[in-house]
């Protein structure tokens, strides 16, 4: 049988880890789980302390100068030639696909392109490059899955995330009716268009509830912040969790 996901690069000894600002402030355990999953595969993880935000909030809000300033800061913080692993489809999409747009007319565009070519979303990296095989040690559980829009479309990494989920034999995945529909987060959109955002989040939560799942998983903590915030506001006790944390919990 052909390997459906051929490795794009040889297995590296060291990788950079870009933790993302949402994980940094609100979900550090999810970030650490990603680190441990990589370390467990024998990969040395480097976490530059100088790293901050990918710059997406400014890029999407109409402030490209500020976005570039912050982006250049990441370029410096991740200067060596290691792959950069990102536990978020959205931030990875910014670093990989939006940086080249943002710098299209800048003198350092070639440096940016080299940087962007080193970006991998975590589950993509685990499946494609590390070719991990997971062994499920957890109790049977029914979960549902939220595809972040940037993971789904810009990065197209949902097949990798679901490959990992599929390796967990005791996990039953019940898909959402509208899996391909946005949860309404949209970064600054959630506070600039709060009413529309809330309506979208509400519908997403209704969709989650009808699956009867015991947990909601995703590759993106921005969406989970929105979804868990709405679940909590509605006093629904369905936990949300980053995929990395879920995998680590069930495989150690």
């Amino acid at each position: 049988m052909n390997d459906p996901f051929p490795a794009p690069i040889p297995r590296p000894g060291k990788v950079y880890y870009f933790g993302t600002c949402v994980i940094d402030a609100c979900f550090p355990q999810a970030g650490l789980a990603g680190v441990e999953l990589l370390q467990r595969e024998g990969v040395q993880v480097i976490f530059p302390q100088a790293q901050s935000c990918c710059g997406q909030p400014a890029h999407n809000s109409g402030f490209p100068d500020e976005a570039r300033r912050v982006a250049r800061h990441q370029l410096k913080a991740f200067a060596r030639d290691y792959p950069i692993v990102v536990p978020s489809g959205s931030c990875a999409g910014m670093l990989k696909h939006q940086y080249p747009h943002l710098f299209a007319h800048e003198p350092d565009i070639e440096e940016v392109q080299r940087f962007s070519s080193r970006i991998y979303e975590l589950s993509e990296f685990m499946v494609k490059v590390l070719q991990v095989r997971l062994e499920d040690r957890g109790e049977p559980i029914k979960v549902t899955w939220h595809s972040s829009c940037h993971a789904l479309r810009e990065m197209a990494i949902i097949p990798y995330a679901k490959t990992l989920l599929g390796q967990l034999k005791q996990v039953e995945l019940v898909e959402l009716q509208n899996e391909r529909e946005c949860c309404g987060f949209g970064g600054t959109f959630s506070v600039k268009q709060p009413a529309i955002s809330a309506a979208m989040a509400d519908d997403k939560v209704n969709d989650i509830v009808q699956t009867g799942a015991a947990r909601v998983l995703s590759t993106d903590c921005g969406c989970l912040l929105n979804i868990s915030g709405t679940l909590g506001y509605r006093q629904l006790s369905i936990p949300t969790q980053h995929l990395a944390e879920f995998i680590l919990e069930r495989t150690q």
């Binding site: 109409g62 529909e181 979208m200 929105n226």
Partner: protein, 479 residues
């Protein structure tokens, strides 16, 4: 922070739309049907991708030669006997129509569906001049009866369900019996319209594609009303935005397939009209005069900017509306302008100015659903980002969009500068995240947090950041 007028108006519309449960159910059901039909027709993903690439390249090729293709179109049409008129503004376009109508002493105009005529507010204009303009597309007819404007560019009455239409017909059409049977409702409309077709003195239509090579005006429709409007009255006025021109006749079939498939999931529409000339000597039917009005209304300015030009690739299929999570919840009226949804959000601020419609560019989560389905691959999110940037760009702006800089405030500019400073100063960020870790659960609910917590619990700021935990774990810092 003070809100601009467009933002306030949009907020009011949004609240109204979101509170209308019937509207949301109607939209959700209709959009689900339309997108399922589309998906079924384009089930072969690879073939669709190929067709989409072809569609994009046809539109790009046409736009790359736009001025000469328009000249060629004018020359061909003129040679065929079609009278061509150029209108820089909607006011000019209205005046041209009025002049033609008056010259024929006409009182009754029958109209096929045309979004350019909506852009011109033609019906309202003609009404003020004492001329009746009757919409003959069923959807347009329904909303005209109810004194509304289209809520969708392809299916204008999509916000209404069968029961609402049943009541409307019974209330507004003299002697119409109350019925909820679709066939009977159709029959009522058909009977009403049949008489109007007979009495129509001037017919108005839109144009889906104008072929420069042959001077042919293509009109796509499902009800035959377009054919009636363009053949029954002695005079036909076709309205088009100047971007609708294509180079060759052979460019039409792929675009037609993309248009009908993306719009309604149909392999082809029931009617496809190709209009090349008025009635020729010896012919028994057809209009004696055909006029083509080509409208600019800001399009040439869009054409002039290489990054904005892709806006004009649009073939008005409406797929971006049908798949937009925001349009699906609001419907078209909430946008407050003629073109709603993702295409409206990139087009309207450029046509009418950011100060009039800039808020539309903020009505997107950048989910990318519009880009995924667009049959001519318009880079929606790139254009939206550019418009958001222009909204804040004072003085000379890179893309010179009308009304740029209207949203600039010192407070917002400073807050982004501070954000950039924070994210480029590791020392500052370290102190910041320590403070956030300690006080995160006790932050005052003001600013963005206030908006966030209207419908959500506050973010669970962690006592220690990932930076701190990484350091404690002794992760290599690369120094």
């Amino acid at each position: 922070m003070t809100k601009t007028a467009d933002v306030l108006a949009f907020e009011r519309n949004v609240t109204k739309a979101l509170d209308d449960g019937q509207l949301r159910r109607n939209l959700r059901s209709a959009m689900t049907t339309l997108s399922q039909r589309r998906r079924a027709l384009f089930a072969d993903v690879e073939a669709f991708e190929k067709l989409r690439t072809q569609g994009q390249s046809i539109r790009r090729r046409a736009l790359s030669r736009l001025p000469e293709l328009l000249e060629q179109l004018e020359a061909r049409c003129t040679a065929n006997g079609i009278q061509v008129h150029w209108a820089e503004t909607t006011a000019e376009a209205n005046a041209i129509c009025l002049d033609i109508i008056r010259r024929h002493g006409a009182q009754r105009v029958i109209k096929g569906k045309s979004m350019v005529s909506e852009e011109m507010h033609l019906n309202h204009f003609l009404e003020e001049q004492g001329i009746e303009a009757l919409e003959t597309d069923l959807g347009e007819y329904i909303i005209q009866l109810d004194g509304e404007t289209p809520s969708h560019i392809i299916v204008p009455a999509i916000h209404k369900n069968k029961d609402q239409i049943a009541h409307l017909f019974h209330d507004r059409i003299p002697d119409a019996p109350y019925t909820e049977v679709v066939e009977e409702l159709n029959a009522i409309a058909r009977q009403e319209l049949r008489e109007k077709f007979r009495a129509g003195e001037v017919g108005v239509s839109g144009v889906n594609f104008a072929v420069a090579e042959t001077g042919t005006l293509c009109l796509v429709e499902n009800e035959g009303n377009g054919r009636m409007c363009t053949t029954a009255p002695p005079v036909h006025i076709a309205l088009m935005g100047l971007e609708k021109v294509v180079e060759k006749l052979q460019d039409v079939p792929p675009l037609l397939r993309l248009l009908t498939g993306s719009a309604t999931g149909q392999p082809i529409t029931t009617y496809f009209n190709m209009i090349t000339a008025p009635r020729r000597p010896g012919e028994l039917d057809g209009p004696r005069e055909v006029h083509l009005v080509i409208l600019d209304n800001g399009r040439s300015s869009i054409y002039g900017d290489p990054e904005r030009r892709a806006t004009l690739q649009c073939i008005r299929c409406g797929a971006c509306l049908n798949h937009c999570p925001i349009y699906t919840r609001l419907g078209g009226h909430a946008y407050g302008h003629v073109y709603p949804g993702p295409i409206g959000s990139i087009l309207t601020p450029q046509l009418e100015g950011l100060d009039e419609a800039g808020v539309m560019a903020s009505a997107s989560t950048f989910c990318g659903a519009c880009e995924e389905v667009c049959p001519v691959k318009i880079p929606f999110t790139e254009i939206l980002r550019m418009l958001r940037n222009e909204a804040y760009a004072r003085g000379e702006s890179e893309h010179d969009v009308k009304g740029h800089g209207y949203r600039y405030t010192t407070v917002e500019a400073l807050s982004w500068k501070s954000w950039a400073l924070y994210n480029t100063s590791p020392g500052l960020a370290r102190i910041g995240s320590q403070i956030l870790g300690k006080l995160g659960q006790h932050l005052p609910m003001i600013g963005p947090l206030k908006e966030w917590t209207r419908t959500r619990i506050p973010p669970p700021f962690a006592p220690k950041s990932l930076h701190q935990l990484a350091q404690e774990r002794g992760l290599d810092d690369d120094r």
